[in-house]
Amino acid sequence: MDNIAKVEHQEECKEICRGNEDEEYEALPIVSKEDGSSMSNSNVDNNSISSGYQLNALPDEMLEFILTYLPPYKDLKNCSLVCKRWRSIVKNLIRRSKINLHKGLIDFRLRWEIFSPQSAGTELRSCIPKTSMYVIAGRFSHSAVRYGNYMYVFGGGSSSDTTFNDLWRFDLSKMHWERPFSMGTYPSPKGSASMVCWQEQLILFGGWRYPSLHPPHQPWCLFDELHYYDLIKNRWTVAITTHGPPPMAGHSASVHGNIMVIFGGYQMVDGVNLNSNQVWCLDLHKQYWWRPRLAGNVAPPPRYCQIQLVLDEHHLLIVGGCGGPNSVFSDAWILDMSSDLWLWKLVPVRNKKFAASHMWCNPACKIDSKLVVLGPTPNMPQDFQLMRQARIPVGAAGVSNNRNRQLERERWIPGQAGNGQAARGYAIRVPAHNRPINFQLDGINIPLDGPDEQYFAQRRAILNNHQQNASNNNFINQHNNHNNNLQPRTGSLRNLHRIALQHMEEKNHNKPSSSGALPRPNGVTAGRTNSESSCNGEEVEKKRDDTKNSDMEAANRLQRNLSLRCRENEPFLPKRFDELYEDPFRMAAFNVQNRPRSLSKDHNERIRRMEEKMNALRNSRRNAVAEQKPLKEPSPKRVKRNVLSLFVCDLSNALSEDPHLQWVEHKNYGILPGAPERLILSTMVPGNGELVLFGGVQKETLFEMTHQVSNSVHFLSAPKDIV
């Protein structure tokens, strides 16, 4: 009774208040009060204080700050519909968010956040429909498109040599995965297909598929299937077309008006596999293909896995791509579609030293007038002389590696073995001993002095020796070696190098100058003697775990030292960096994970070496324990790995009087806080004031039986400013 009377009274007061309203927002009596006492007297009093505070009484900046905690999708839209004041606040928020992202891309002041379904909040809210409890499987080479509040993901390769044909969508508001209930004619399982969005439909074309394992010796194949997915009706339809393009994968597509333009790709024409630089157009309404007439004889060299962007309705931009082994492109071409004859134009690219490398297996997307590409971290200046020595693949592994690569390549280009077939399939004899398929990417075999090849060779050398030594019970443990207080490194890291270097010397491939260039730091040389002498009496097998742990800690510390050092604005660093750096094992007991580091100004050289050793250690460790690792994304607390760097290219002058693209100078080599580990063949789509990265595979694990794939979603956005 009491409550009803109170409610009625409040209703009356609301009526009165509305009549007196001049301002945009009102201070109504509170709805709930803990002690239930009547607030009748202060109902019409706009100055009611104490518990009468209203959300709308907060200043605009506070309200805007609160709203930044909301996912900037559906929730923000709902907020803008609440009242006029909220709408203007949301407008400000959006404008500020766009500016912050824009500035963040130029200043490299952004941060990554991760969402992994496994570690997402486990609270079971009853409002979540059952479908959202599904967890999407990790994948690479999938297709992704953003539409409204969702990111749609289709297909891709799995962790174990199968291909998906499932369609998922990630609700960016609610931060969970859903599996739309799809009807109609499902596409075949495929990866590296192109998917674009047009008029509330998704258009999927092309792709490749792993052979199915059963029955055995099935062909892998390229597709020329064209499917439409109606996002409203949740229905797949296959489009039957004639005179369409040959089966292809790794092509790129974009929508201009009512036309989808595709370019390039890895194709199968008349039983032969080749890279293409063809342009095909699809009239999306009438579903027929046609080829445009091109003016001039200049066209981009054939390629696949390039980036294709819409500049405007009549212009598209092609960047990067792969043309085969040792042929990764970093050029840019514009296709001018404004007249009857279409024209390719090569666009000069400036600031190439800040460009991304490997713009074919790494994700990219366009946001406003910027092209954002991810990729491996560029080499620091002052290249490691050590790394340079590893030009030739080391050891037996190197030799057979080449042979494997040859075999793999043959499988990837099965044309030679093919006989006249339908466009869809090949009868390929897959040699039994090559199963399961280790999918080899052409571009892996990049120029030998590229950073990856160095890592590879170095890592292989170290790994081989690791394994060799481990089996010989010869693993040196420097854990308790206190004699090295003055050396920059102690313990097994140095030892790793010593072993690797010895190995390389044995192989005798290196230039004569290499031996002189062996570990530069004097400390390391001296330490070698130490370790050699002390290795004799050590019983190491039972301490191997300790070594591993201390390695992890050491590597972890190195990583922290390194990244902190490279970051420019680190305020909390102690003055004496050296005391932590010199003997990390001494500090091991203190578990200095979060200890701040110092900002000495003259350690650039040491950083490079640290970086190199750390990476070598990390890579070798990763390989050594590859089998035991779970397939899902590691939890956030684990040791840091190689990360993806960010590269930004300014496209604002692409269509100007003096057309050019310009790479933005990166800071800290494009490494941003929280960067995801290095994966290739993932996708990145633009979100609202953020970029959304999903999926991918660890490149090194492509050679293994089970690939490390990721199903985490990473968000790149500007850090929140405090009001």
Binding site: L28, M62, I66, L70, P72, K84, R111, E113, M175, G674
Partner: protein, 162 residues
């Protein structure tokens, strides 16, 4: 342990440990600037915070006094808003008015942790609701005409000025 006296807007004095009071950036700056670090007689006036709210703020600060400072390291930050601790969630089970006043106090006193958790709480109250539900929760009047509302629905601020 030195104490400090904080005076609320309604002239109530709160005797607090200096370390706890220093979780507030504002108080910390005040003390350092005025050199009142050791003064046991120091009274810091806080005209923008009333006693009820100040009491709650100190209660929160006392519980969280041993929290590690958030480090800006490279660890993967998780993107979620449901990571409010259960103590904080209980602490914030108050009526809306108190909640908003806590937000204002946390902002004025520059207590990042409290501001973060209170704003997250309010954001969680907004999340997932339709506009009408939001209005009802926070007692806001809808001042759109039907035509205006339709227009707002259609517009997409994120894609404008392409």
């Amino acid at each position: 342990m030195p104490n400090i006296k904080l005076q609320s807007s309604d002239d109530e004095i709160f005797d607090t440990d200096v370390q706890i009071a220093k979780c507030s950036g504002t108080i910390k700056t005040m003390l350092e600037d005025c050199g009142m670090e050791d003064g046991d007689n120091a009274v810091v006036p806080l005209p923008n915070v009333n006693s009820a709210i100040l009491r709650k703020v100190l209660h929160w600060a006392n519980f969280h006094k041993d929290d590690p400072q958030p480090t800006e390291d490279d660890e993967n930050k998780e993107k979620r808003t449901d990571d409010i601790s259960s103590w904080d969630a209980d602490f914030l089970k108050v009526d809306q008015g108190t909640l908003f006043e806590l937000i204002l106090a946390a902002n004025y006193l520059d207590i990042k942790g409290l501001l973060d958790v209170t704003c997250k709480t309010v954001a969680n109250m907004i999340k997932g609701k339709t506009p009408e539900e939001i209005r009802k929760t926070f007692n806001i009047k809808n001042d759109f005409t039907a035509a205006e509302e339709e227009q707002v629905r259609k517009e997409n601020e994120w894609c404008e000025e392409k």
